[in-house]
Symmetry: C2
Subunit: 447 residues, 2 copies
Amino acid sequence: MGGAGGPDAGPGLESRTGRPPPLGTAPEPVTTWNARRPKIVDTANTCGGPRELRVPATLRRHESETALSLTGTTLFGLQTFGGGLLTVDGEELGDALTQAHLVTEGAAAEAAGADAFGVGEHHRAELPTSAPDVILAGVAARTERILLTTAVTVLSTDDPVRAYERYATVDGISGGRVQPVLGRASFTEPFLLFGFDLAHYNELFEEKLALWTQAKREGALRFNGVHRAALNGERAFPASATPGGIVTWVGVGGSPESVVRAAKYNANLMMAGLGQTPDRIQRYFQLFRAAEKEFGQRPAMLGMTSNGFLADTMEEARDRAWETNRRLMESVARERGWGERTREHFEADAETGFSLVGTPEWAAQRIAEHVLALDVDRYDVNYGNMTATREEKLEQIRLWGEVVFPRVRELVAEARATAGGDAAPSGVSDSPAPEATGDVAPSGQQA
Amino acid sequence: MGGAGGPDAGPGLESRTGRPPPLGTAPEPVTTWNARRPKIVDTANTCGGPRELRVPATLRRHESETALSLTGTTLFGLQTFGGGLLTVDGEELGDALTQAHLVTEGAAAEAAGADAFGVGEHHRAELPTSAPDVILAGVAARTERILLTTAVTVLSTDDPVRAYERYATVDGISGGRVQPVLGRASFTEPFLLFGFDLAHYNELFEEKLALWTQAKREGALRFNGVHRAALNGERAFPASATPGGIVTWVGVGGSPESVVRAAKYNANLMMAGLGQTPDRIQRYFQLFRAAEKEFGQRPAMLGMTSNGFLADTMEEARDRAWETNRRLMESVARERGWGERTREHFEADAETGFSLVGTPEWAAQRIAEHVLALDVDRYDVNYGNMTATREEKLEQIRLWGEVVFPRVRELVAEARATAGGDAAPSGVSDSPAPEATGDVAPSGQQA
């Protein structure tokens, strides 16, 4: 690592001294609309091993710096965790058809004009999609242009060498379009299924991200770690289609350590909007840019995700979003001891953070507000965290790709033109406060 | 396991007493036309751990029984290890384009009328295709009918739970068309790359095949083994598209223990023809059927593989086969200390066993001879173990699918009609002795 002072060189976070960390402790990317902090994150925050990264205090000097996108443009993606398919009569169509339909959804996302299509990795009955790389290979074979991403790839419980080989294969098939988002997991299943200890939650990801980063160089591998056999010059195959190796993102939910780690390994940063506010996300981005400087890394891309559901009226959107996510929410709530999930909980969650449950115009105005405030390189919407019919899933994809994203581009261009061509963030608001968004006035008609 | 006496119940093979085993010790599936016994097999034969299967002496009673196909018909497949792509000027096009072209090749195989398309797993520069499941997902998305298989999936160095999840995903995408062939590996790379000890060559495969077989039932997993973390009721996802779980083959090169193991786990048996003769293969099949009875298993499918290269004349076929395989052969020979590989070695190898280097008519006659003698459920030809141009690979696929396989079906039907509708094996010959093939008289014009 170049640069002055790695994360282990500087003093620790304030949390080390008993005070809270500066940027809050919001959860890692989660898998329900109404996310509460998953238990797994508590484990990580309290049981981090000796290898856990600490943000050096020196970084806090840079927090006020502006964090701008790398590319100067925002790509809009659609992502899904692959919730179960239903017949129009509400019967479950089963895991296999859900997998097959994800390929159809990826092709539909390209046809609708989305810039990226992402699939999440889970190992549970309500979210039976465990191999996003395999799904993306199917999508690659049916598309020409769309970027192929994940939401997320659970690197902590995978073998980074094997994972790199699989994604390099997808990269080859797709002509260099794969951009996985690596993450730590928001459920506990993969730890039990693949035999990793949750107590090593943070350390596992650190070690595996380091090895992935080495594999990305596509040369002889040298490794001597705790959670995987040593490597003494062996090589992984195939080489990817991407000069410099696969474009890699790290998915972060709200841990400053994770932000700094992404910078350390020169990954692109994908922030989960869920449970966050625009100003908190901007502070994460600033931390990221500052950490990149400290590590002597080139600036990488910034991205964020929201969850959404579209309908003709705000009320209908809420109704359908609640219906289609209920099964998963109830299962997660039961498992995590949250007590019964009610419509009231759901309504309350939909009022806060980066939830995009509403009409296409309302969602477009809200995304434009986020893009103007945060100037991200990529903005992905999770459209498919739901149990629904084929037609409903495809209709959501069509609405986001054909209606919302073009309208967002229009709104952002108008706002920037009005501001005199200034592409910098126009201000940061805690949504949903439309008066703080500068030139973009979202209609904000909430049911 | 049902049935009277498992493999561990009976006395050991004669090899245990210092005498040779009854069915020879031909190598596991190998990756060059001119295969010599790979070192890895020596290791397995001499270093098998305490868990290694032994063929009970009682099984030898059944060796004379007839082994018939399960389905009564033969499907014809094409397989490849994904040797590098070249420009027409002989320049290498690189790993990524090789991966992308494999998807094109799979679609071409369906268009040409082949019944199956298979991809091998390797982790080396000359054979950079490490994730056949990912490639097959791409092929699945571009095809409707063709079975998707492997040649082989190196289960020994994979996690059976993760592997099952990946293939179940391909099964979902393809609507139930995936049929992996699980094997032990013919190169040493995956052992070094994934941190497994070659000394456990046999034991690794046994333990992993047992867990795969359990995962195939798609219920709660319970496992307590040596080479993988324990499982205590966890489940893998997604469920496959296939009732009863993914159709699973075990690839065997010439080890009677492997044949018995395949029967023990009720897998379908894919025998590598390379280095074998028809009568030896028939004896393996008889052993397999007898072992199935001993274990109380339902009869499974029988298959075999050959390597081939087609051209207008026998001489041209030999020339091109030598040219396109030379790079790989030389690398393997160097690595294994075989000394220099010459055209003379290659010619000698092409004279023996199941090599199908010649004209389409000659190859068709030879395959018909094999099918009549062995009555397999599937016959796969490796067409692509070569460094060649796109056009050459696609032309090979076209010739096998459009010319050779239909001609084989015709020859087999004619021969069976002449024999009075008798579908049983018409006799067993050590190829290339045409006088022993009954009603099919191969032209046998060797260059």
